[in-house]
């Protein structure tokens, strides 16, 4: 069974600050997906990374897949209140395994 550990579990920062959240495993994944979930809604897919070392940017969000395809990071530049939510990573191997998520709060 693959496990994905996300850290930190909770993060509260001020608007305009930068932050990085992590998704780590001892297992190798063929791809890694990131989702954002807002209260009362289902997760929404942000990005999928497939190649080891791959970097993808989505406006102020930068996603990186580790060289060994065991870990990933999400960096947000100049965080805004609209970035508030639960960020979930999901690794694809034998099925899709979700991490427990990082609860992110951006305070105005």
């Amino acid at each position: 069974t693959q496990l994905l550990e996300q850290s930190p579990q909770f993060l509260s920062i001020q608007e305009g600050e930068n932050l990085t959240v992590y998704c780590n495993s001892s297992s190798v994944f063929s791809s890694l997906q990131w989702y954002r979930q807002e209260p009362g809604e289902g997760p929404v897919l942000l990005v999928t990374v497939v190649t080891g070392g791959e970097v993808k940017k989505l406006k102020r969000l930068t996603f990186q897949f580790g060289d060994a395809r065991k870990d990933s990071s999400l960096h947000i530049t100049a965080a805004q209140p609209g970035d508030t939510g639960l960020y979930l990573c999901a690794g694809r191997a034998d099925g899709l395994t979700f991490g427990k998520g990082t609860h992110l709060i951006i305070q105005p």
Binding site: Y35, E41, G42, P43, G95, L96, G99, K100
Partner: protein
């Protein structure tokens, strides 16, 4: 496009009652999934389907049943509801298996 639609949004059941959570998608996706989400526990796969007429168990199938008679619909049946089934349930679909899910907005179920 509506994407993935789940009904009802909220439901309270008494112990021992039964109900069906509805899920329909209009994207012609072959793959559909049911998850439950509990605080601090992440998303757990209950059942999944790779196409009409084909279903299989996920990580936590006990107490649930599914059917897939059409590509669009994937209902989840709870028989003899128990307090342990209090959770938020999400249906999802994808074009490729385990890749790029579209989730519904969830059903919050409380069993009392």
């Amino acid at each position: 496009n509506a994407g993935v639609t789940q009904t009802p949004k909220f439901r309270i059941l008494k112990i021992g009652q039964s109900m069906t959570l509805q899920c329909t998608q209009d994207m012609n996706h072959n793959y559909m999934y049911w998850y439950r989400q509990d605080p601090g526990m992440g998303l757990k796969l209950i059942y999944y389907s790779v196409g009409a007429g084909i279903t299989d168990k996920g990580e936590v199938p006990n107490g649930y049943n599914v059917s897939r008679s059409t590509t669009e619909d994937f209902p989840l049946r709870l028989e003899l509801a128990a307090p342990s089934q209090t959770s938020v349930y999400f249906c999802a679909s994808s074009y490729v298996g385990d890749y790029g899910y579209t989730f519904g907005s969830g059903t919050r179920l409380t069993v009392v």
